[in-house]
Symmetry: C3
Subunit: 650 residues, 3 copies
């Protein structure tokens, strides 16, 4: 399938008389897919058992009549108010012990089995009612799992579920006491029934306790999703099931949820994500109206991994949004750039959120392709242009395999949130820093899960800040004959969240003869300069090693070490140091690079290299050796501009 556009639409929000005109204009834009339904439960079952699917079928009829294909989102993220009367304890409880109420969305507890049954019941009814509709092209499960901090609940249902999960995992309470190190502060349990959740304690819980609660909670999301997938696939084995994930979100293991999905998707809001995120004020000022130039790419590559190669942008920001502290208007052209970037990274569909700005309720300040008065908003014309360019280039196929891969691991995110040791130390920041440094050199990158069985074909693989090795990953790195960058902090724990007996990085001496003997963690204002450029901050390891020192800091502590093709990074670096480390690896691996202007990034797909200019000023591209010409734009790429080069056949 060639890449195409989609849009999110809520027929229940508008008079039925408007549906036909809306569908006609969607088709005119060049839209193929329309996602509907994911918040419509109260309109489909206004009182218990009273099903009113007729309007929905009429809406799908109208959309289908204009050749549009429907992705139907199960509305389980917004159970109707009467559901709370049936299951008063289905509401989640936050870490402060407060039950969260009805009145917005995601008001359910993943651990509540009664609500899961209600979802199964309703999804089955839906599959029966619309599963054979000719316009139906796929399903979305729920909406943005975990949004608004809803992965973790501290409810009685979660407590009961957690105890059962622990018993299933450890079998005996003695085994649990041993695994968690409960001897430490007389925290030993006599029975599983005594175990509580790791909130509202006097001081921190044992890290293994917190880690197991995160694993348990992640598993509940997996189970909640799997239940729906099973029902939907039973009804229509031929239709894909998708979920729309979020950006910079790590509360549950997305790879695990992805196991049961046909396609992964995510909701891309570049401006809000930059504004609310951890980047520097300087970067925020520079990319205020464009978004972080590497944030979208990293997520595209991540969700490609989550979806086993198949992925969409289910919601694409089309203008100002409503949920950040400040909500700038994107630079003209960004709604086109973002779509092209996603396609270059392999997206099958980019679906704008939403068709028409809703004048009422919580998201009334969130732009759409149409204004509330149905006039086109600026992104309308940009979507039209993207649709035409997709057609004119004929781009299809898939994105190119990267020359470089980076392992991103959800458990590592949890681990360093549980035990930062140096405030601000995160797995994400390390992955992002390495990603950005490679991408500035024009290199295509893949993100890989820690369960990857082979690194074959990559020049370089990076495994930064990895919580703990698993057996597969140990075998994978042992067999890999490319260049490997590991650390800092990688392999510093066992799966039970303890320091390994042979200390971090917990690798055999024939791979890396190095032990981390101590950690020096200081605040980011007190960095240490590295000889020849860059600085160490937040994290610096003291090592006992026979590995070769490649870089060292001005206090003569090793920063980058090597043993054969394995490189160990013993510190957190600033941007300059990370670029130096990455450039060193690139040179060692002899990986080809491009000379990109500042703010410009690129990705190769199906014989095309797509350039996107994230900067607020125009730039001039240097023609690369493998490029035969420009099929969209040219070497002069304006602010927020896109240029597509065609590549010589290999």
């Amino acid at each position: 399938m060639n890449p195409t556009l989609g849009v999110c639409y809520y027929p229940e929000h508008w008079p039925e008389a408007w549906w036909d005109g809306d569908a006609r204009r969607m088709a005119e834009v060049g839209i193929t897919f329309v996602r509907i339904g994911e918040f419509a439960w109260s309109k489909l079952e206004p009182t218990p058992g009273n099903l009113t699917f007729d309007w929905l079928i009429r809406a799908m009829d109208v959309l289908g009549s204009h050749g549009l294909k429907v992705i139907f989102g199960t509305p389980t993220a917004t159970p109707p108010r009467w559901m709370i009367d049936k299951h008063p304890d289905m509401l989640a409880v936050d870490a402060q012990g407060r039950q969260k109420g009805f009145g917005s969305r995601r008001h359910y507890d993943f651990s509540h089995l009664g609500y899961r049954e209600e979802c199964a019941r309703f999804v089955k009814l839906l599959a029966d009612a619309i599963g054979q509709h000719p316009a139906l092209a796929g399903w979305q499960t729920d909406n943005e799992y975990g949004c608004h901090g809803t992965t973790y609940s501290y409810s009685p249902a979660a407590t009961a579920g957690f105890r059962g999960w622990l018993e299933n995992k450890y079998h005996t309470v003695d085994a649990l006491n041993e695994a968690w190190g409960n001897v430490f502060w007389s925290m030993e349990y006599n029975t599983f029934e005594q175990i509580g959740l790791p909130n509202l304690m006097v001081t921190e819980a044992a890290p293994a306790h917190s880690m197991d609660f995160r694993r348990y909670s992640s598993d509940q999301v997996v189970a909640f999703n799997g239940l729906q997938v099973d029902i939907l696939k039973a009804a229509r084995p031929d239709l894909p099931v998708i979920h729309n994930f979020m950006g910079r979100f790590s509360e549950f293991d997305h790879y695990d949820v992805g196991q049961k999905l046909d396609i992964a998707s995510w909701d891309a809001y570049p401006l809000g994500h930059l504004y609310q995120g951890p980047e520097s004020d300087e970067m925020k000022a520079q990319f205020l109206r464009q978004g972080d130039p590497d944030y979208q790419g990293l997520h595209h590559d991540l969700y490609r991994a989550v979806g086993h190669g198949r992925w969409w942008v289910m919601e694409q920001q089309p203008g100002p949004v409503n949920w950040a502290h400040h909500n700038p208007d994107p630079l003209p052209g960004m709604a086109r750039l973002w779509a092209w970037e996603a396609f270059a990274h392999g997206a099958e569909v980019v679906s704008y959120f939403r068709w028409r700005q809703a004048p009422f309720a919580q998201e009334q300040m969130h732009a759409g392709l149409l204004r509330p008065d149905s006039e086109p908003a600026p992104a309308y014309a940009e979507a039209v242009q993207v649709a035409q360019e997709l057609k004119s280039t004929g781009i299809g196929g898939t994105t190119a395999k990267g020359r470089v891969a980076i392992v991103y691991d959800y458990q590592s995110e949890w681990a360093w949130q549980i035990q930062p040791q140096s405030q601000g130390f995160t797995h994400y920041a390390h992955v992002k820093a390495i990603y950005a440094a490679f991408r500035k050199r024009g290199i295509d990158i893949d993100i890989l899960p820690p369960s990857t069985k082979s690194f074959a074909g990559y020049d370089i693989v990076a495994i930064p800040a990895l919580f703990a090795w698993n057996d597969d990953l140990r075998a994978t790195i042992a067999e890999f004959d490319g260049h490997l960058l590991i650390g800092p902090r990688s392999g510093s724990k066992t799966q039970n969240f303890a320091i390994p007996a042979t200390l971090a990085p917990d690798l055999p001496a024939n791979m890396l003869d190095l032990k981390v003997s101590r950690v020096d963690s200081t605040d980011p204002r007190h960095g240490v300069l590295v000889k020849d450029g860059g600085a160490v901050h937040l994290w610096r390891e003291r090592v006992d090693t026979r590995a070769e020192v490649v870089m060292e800091d001005e206090e003569n502590f090793p920063v980058l070490l090597s043993q054969g093709k394995l490189f160990y990074l013993a510190a957190s670096g600033d941007r300059a140091l990370m670029q130096r480390v990455v450039d060193y690896l690139i040179a060692e691996a002899n990986t080809p690079i491009l000379a990109l202007p500042a703010g410009v990034r690129c990705r190769v797909r199906d014989g095309f290299r797509v350039y996107f200019n994230y900067s607020a000023t125009a730039a001039t591209l240097t023609k690369a050796a493998d490029e035969t010409g420009y099929v969209v734009g040219d070497a002069e790429i304006p602010a927020a501009g896109v240029t597509v080069a065609s590549l010589a056949k290999v």
Copy 2:
């Protein structure tokens, strides 16, 4: 009545033997009114039904014997501890779900009908006991409604009250679902009994839900106050009923409460208000010991509107207070300046809080006219001077009507707190910025409610950041033939908190042919310069318009537009831009201005122009054309000084 001084006194805090001496010294200062009683319930009814009013009558006798007039404050802000035993659920519940306990003050829930009955019972008893006392000159209801965040309660009583209020407003739950846009996230209700309060949700409530809860809560304050007013007026129709409001406080609609009051008053604490407020650090440093030069004036003018022309300062800061993070000593002279400023703005009475500093309990660090050892504190002599100057000038009458008016609207405050869209965007800030810019030009200003039926007589009226038009205000502006400044964000919502069908500012094209098509909101650090001076920050509207562009920013977006005498401001401006906009309007309207030194402000009353120097250095006044001479001070006005000029009869 000529303006005069008052003081707040607590006979129950002191030995009875001191009362006569205190009253004698009050009279010597030149004080006329003494407010008493508002925290004395436990001394008047120490156990349920056991009334001990004898001491109170003796205290009033003593005060009356020195010619002092008593304002009696109903003590309903401090129910005694036994009341909680009778009504355990009368304690309010905060937004986090925590019931607030006894032990300080304002420990009651406006929605609790049982407590309302107790208040009615006790106020009736009071009216019976002291209503005919010859010293009695008026009543104060309760004390500082809403202080300490007590307007909103999330209690069962509030929930029940809110449901009834909604049913009364909407009649059917379908109408409510439609008005709130509940279709948006399946938030539709089947019955009114399912509706909860907009707290402890997973994410934000529908804005119309939050807005209605604020309207409901405001109405409870109105009802609570009205109940007491009815009883007090029944007992003594001839005596005024007053309430003492606070500064920068908008949780309930003060105009609505003011409907039943004879006189509005407020409690003016310039230093604490500046220190705890949103002004810049630079302004805080400059006016540390004086207060914001426009804050008091704005509130004086606001409460003159709330009181339909009649207003007092019920509590005037006399020295350092106890409740700000830091509590500076005012510059010598400020206790006099603040009083004179209030009189110039039309105050009938300025009443210092308090007579003698209490050496015990919560406010022991709050200065009085006397020190705790009964020696005069510095404000004592300043009060004496004010009393003499009032007499010597013979100032009376009322304050002059302003040439300029600004609409201040409580619902607009709520709206932008509920939906800031750009963090820091407030109605108050826009009103304040315009107020200060006009006042620096020596122009007298009136504050008007959104229910104003006519703007006749004003050169210029400003309506900034107005939530939604009401029918009256639409008619008022349509009839106005002066210069009108509207926006930004004015008319951007319907009364149901939705975007109007014809978009903001929701005005007929013959008045203003302009639609706000989009909003660009950025943080205050990322402003955009305006051509010829000033900058836009926080808020910038994209407009479709045929109006004339008067000012535009450096990216060529319109900032100020005009259509006839209607001016539309499409952005939030910094101080420089707001001054430019105001100066432009002044020039267009040909409104006369004065050349005031920095930090000096003035107001005209009864043929006198009173100048107050808020700066910490002396200044020289330029004699205005209409001034015949100085009756207090002269052209050289010292720091914290006051000069009173007499004006030629018109």
Copy 3:
């Protein structure tokens, strides 16, 4: 006993087979004392009544076999999980009303009498089981009373206890109403049963209410500790009972707890304490890897007072810790320096925490003398060196009596937390500032409790920011014939937290003819310069006085006043002003000083003067007149270095 080393050890954390090797190596280091047991309850009583002391006795046998002496810590800070089943209400409730759960440590409420009985029962069993063990050398009660904010509980148990305590103190509720000033806001109680705890109020509680709750809570810690001491002393009257207090901790009165202890000790973590503390960013950057140069000394001197002259460091930081936001590696040498500093200040024992870094549970990132893989960590060799130097110098005896004393008072800490009046005003900061200023002059200082009966022998005594006089202290200062520095804010309250009738500082005119008539409190950015150097910030008093003005600020307000040898400081000063004030006092009192390089401090013990260099660079000492030579190090003192000079016999 000559000073010696100790270590904290947890035999229950390690295989029994390791115990003998561990003990042997401890002895090799030169360690004498081993603290064990304080978290081992679940291993000693795994289910109710099922005692398993056998392993403990074997562990003590092994330690004893290597000549090591055991300090046994009662494990009452970590009751096992089954205890919560027996006493579900023994868990404390925080100020927000949330019960804190099991899963970490210190999960008990000091007010819970049932848990106290359980502790008494178990301590008695322990005393029976190991009280006669030949290796036993002393006891530690519990662990770090109050750590993690556990002094205050807002539980039903605390409420009941508080009411009884109040009735015992005041006898009648009228007396309590009078003492607290409850007339102020109708806060009067009819019965003790109506009184609640001072949390979750609408606004602040009466300060006397808060103060009495703090006194009550402190008394519960005293009672909890006393119960254990009585049992342990009954079993072994000859063995010392110790408690390990914390740094910068003032929630309960340590002097009161110390009444029943034989020896005070504290847990010294210089880097975490600096990082988490209130010092300036500049100081934090300068001493990141060394700690605040005066913090440890101040606490050593404080705990010498708490222990009536006998004190230990029970836990000494040996490397990076795990609990600060960032956890730097100490400079090489600091583990030695800190130990020497403690000995110089009179420590009998310095005990490193802990022997081996635990690879599991909450403190896995906390360094020990051994790494988790049992290899020596850097502090191992430093401990060996300290042990050898103690032996080679033969240092013994006790620390010298100071020439200067400063009164430190826990109630004053509570008072200014309850009523800062100027945010950031604390008793500790005033004590610390004066302490540091004297210590930079090489002067030995003692910390004294407010109950001190005589100041005889001191050149200078300072009493800064004292809440209220007690009768003893009034008598003590009246009899003192040295130089006395009082204020600011000293004597500004009565014991009932009211302003004294004669105003602060509440001293007879023949001692000090001065009244504080008003307080000017501004934020620290708005200081006022003092003539000739330094600045006033946060706090400035207006005084009525006949005392002589020694220093005044640039607005001509007095800063330092004198009447005979009594000096009154009427302001909070910056570092420069505090040094000027202290230098002025030193000159007046003719107290000898030393010329110390920046970052170097010293203390005299047993004929030796020990110098410690806290700076990150080397320094050169000037030989003092009374020094006969160097027995450890020499005049060139490296970064983190120690030099010991021998003194001429007096």
